[in-house]
Point group: C2
Chain length 449, copies 2
């Protein structure tokens, strides 16, 4: 049994949904489908979810933006017409949109969530109708019916453990099941959505719940590249990755999707395959728990900017038992989550993302470190970039670090920081943002050319 | 005003003490002298302090080891005879030894300290008598009279802050003052000693107290080498070092002397010069607060073995606010002081010295980490070596890291760990012990040949 998830561009039009159908028809194991809301058809197109958010924001007691309402309706109508489906599906969709609008007018806190969810929901209604037209035993499965129960948290909804047992029950159903991504329900029956990109989370939760043999994530690229293609032209594709490699790569700006969406699937050790709806014959990128050919090669280079470092020095720091702990406690106290904290003898650096340290917090944190820890120096450095080279077994191999540092030297970039050895599958480098592009290019040449 | 300290080999014989006298006579600024106990004259000789410890251990109510007593007495007698001094000095010394023995017999807790102190005390009595014979205005100054007050702590005696003000009063005295190193007094008037090598501490405290223009530490090498001469033949000498460089070098096994002995002098920003009693014309190694020519060169390579790493991994560790702090808290709780704690996304390594983690503590620490932090892995790796390359400004220079990693590659040694960027003046590498010698040799070639 395979769980198949299709992203926004894969369901952006009738033509795309026909490809989706062919993909499903080509493999009878593909019996559970999770879909996103229709995405962009062209670069300057609008995503249905964005339109729904605009629509929701325009709603007040008496008015709303009728143009946007029509835009949304037309996107669905076009798809339905392309697929020669009846108007009944369109009515179902518009009814749900109208319900969402009414909820907002009624003052429901989750009204905007209900409206936003209409994108994925509409896709699922259309796809299941189209599959039925093609004489498949297909059914639309509502997330509430599937038992996807969520907890409302400040950072975005979190799945409740019991959902997995509910989802396992789906195995009893026959035919193809089509589930809209992006939303679920609280125990009180209130619809809530994940954070953006939430269809990936639904796909991963469903794959984990039904204990799929494979979770296929269809997008619009043939596979994951070993380096950001915005920095290196036509980079190599990655055929095979481990979860740990994926996680380290995602961490430093690997943007195919957010690695955390895959956590439920990872936890159940379900292999994940990233594939292209527009070229389903391409093998894609497989992400697995363990890889056989871990010969110490570097599999990928990730890079991201927008980091900041806090450098703290205090003479005789390492004789002071508890210093590191007290420093980290101040950060915890100020709700500042840090990424890394390499320490020297009398020095410690904290690396964090710029967005967790706005200037008012910076002031408090610096003040507390200075006063409570009686340090000699606290310095803040912004505009830092982190570059990560990743590969299972890499750190057991002589010369990997040497290649990397040579690449930075060739790029003429000074290494502000090297952190190797704390992770078994990666090596991290901190540099000034302006050297990032050149460094990544030289690293790519060093390991992949 | 210069404070001059002479180590054990510099005062091991009458001939050596004549050299000391000439050194003092060659510079009228050298007015405060701190001396060690007579050390070894040849490789198979015995140090007077070691003899005194053996003697003390042999003392009981009725007996003691008379042969050792005679050995100690003869060492002093030989020196006194060589210098043509009267027997009065010998009687003064033997009286103090007899007093120490009586204190041990009387059950005094500090009896052994009093006996041990006779080595330095004897040297000071002899040197001041000899200087007086040579018509200098010289006087022996007892540490109690100098006002060196100490606090008895489990790890060794610590100097009390008020001592510095007392020592400043010595500036009023005329002539050459000779102070025995290694011991001081509690506020209750009880003699106590520093840990071994304590004459260096006395020298540094006295230099800080009198606010010397220079603290000269005379030993038996022309200067400090840039690398351990046991690993590299005839290495280059270091002419100029900063305190920070010295501290980082000392940390990883740079054994000329323990950097902590210099802390009192460092705190007062007093320049320190390491010189050779047997070749006083050589310029020696200057250790200063700031160096002008910090052009980013590597000034030294230090290395030491006997390290152990605790590797901890937990999926999603970096999302868990407070994880690092709680891990360090467990170590603090178990009174395990760590050296470094580099962290990755889902991993953290703790590096410590083997002696702070005996196997019974290892078991407790591993158990607590596993149970209290619910981690996926805890692994202990012993037999690690740390290599440190040190130089002010080094980390601002492109290519320094590249040279280092190339050296390890040439040595065929795998880098288990790199920690760069937390300290501004050093780069640290962790490897298996068996690759240490070869790595240090390749690093030396890379930076110094």
């Amino acid at each position: 049994m395979k769980v198949v998830k299709f992203g926004g561009s894969s369901v952006a039009s009738g033509a795309q949904l026909k490809k989706v159908t062919e993909i499903l028809e080509s493999d009878p194991e593909r019996t559970v489908v999770v879909v996103s809301a229709p995405g962009k058809r062209t670069a300057d197109d609008e995503k249905v979810t964005d339109l729904l958010i605009q629509l929701g924001e325009s709603v007040d007691d008496n008015h709303m933006n009728g143009d946007i309402y029509e835009k949304v309706r037309n996107r669905f109508k076009e798809i339905i017409d392309d697929l020669d489906l009846s108007d009944r599906t369109l009515s179902e969709i518009t009814n749900k949109i109208d319900e969402g609008i009414a909820m907002i007018r009624g003052g429901a806190a989750n009204g905007i969530d209900a409206l936003k969810a209409c994108g994925e929901d509409g896709t699922a209604l259309i796809l299941s109708a189209f599959l039925s037209e093609r004489k498949h035993n297909a059914s639309y499965v509502h997330p509430k019916e599937a038992g996807i129960f969520l907890k409302d948290e400040p950072g975005g909804a979190l799945v409740l453990e019991e959902s997995f047992a509910h989802l396992y029950e789906l195995r009893k159903k026959e035919g193809i099941l089509v589930i809209p991504g992006f939303f679920g329900y609280t125990k009180e029956g209130k619809l809530i959505t994940f954070s953006r990109g939430g269809s990936d989370i639904t796909g991963s939760i469903v794959a984990a719940g039904v204990k799929a043999d494979l979770y296929e994530n269809f997008t619009d690229v043939d596979s994951v590249y070993c380096v950001n293609p915005a920095l290196v032209k036509n980079p190599k594709e990655m055929k095979n990755l481990t979860y740990r490699e994926m996680r380290e790569l995602s961490y430093a700006g690997f943007s195919v999707f957010h690695d955390e969406a895959l956590i439920p699937a990872f936890k159940e050790k379900i292999p994940v395959c990233i594939k292209n709806t527009n070229n389903p014959e391409a093998p894609g990128t497989m992400i697995v728990a363990e890889r056989e050919d871990t010969c110490g090669d570097v599999v990928g280079i990730a890079s991201d900017d927008g980091f900041v470092t806090i450098y703290v020095s205090k003479y005789l720091m390492n004789r002071e038992i508890g210093f590191g702990r007290r420093l980290l406690h101040i950060l915890e106290d100020e709700e500042v989550s840090f990424e890394h904290a390499p320490s020297g003898i009398d020095d410690m650096s904290i690396i964090l993302r710029e967005d967790v340290l706005p200037s008012h917090k910076e002031e408090t944190v610096v003040k507390r470190i200075r006063e409570e820890l009686q340090v000699d120096t606290v310095e803040i450095e912004r505009n830092m970039a982190m570059i990560m080279i990743v590969g299972e077994g890499m750190n057991q191999r002589v010369g990997v670090a040497s290649k990397a540092t040579r690449a930075f030297e060739k790029a003429g970039v000074n290494l502000e920081m090297i952190n190797q050895g704390s992770s078994e599958v990666s090596m991290m480098f901190g540099i000034h943002e302006d050297g990032m592009e050149k460094s990544v290019q030289e690293l790519y040449k060093m390991y992949f050319s």
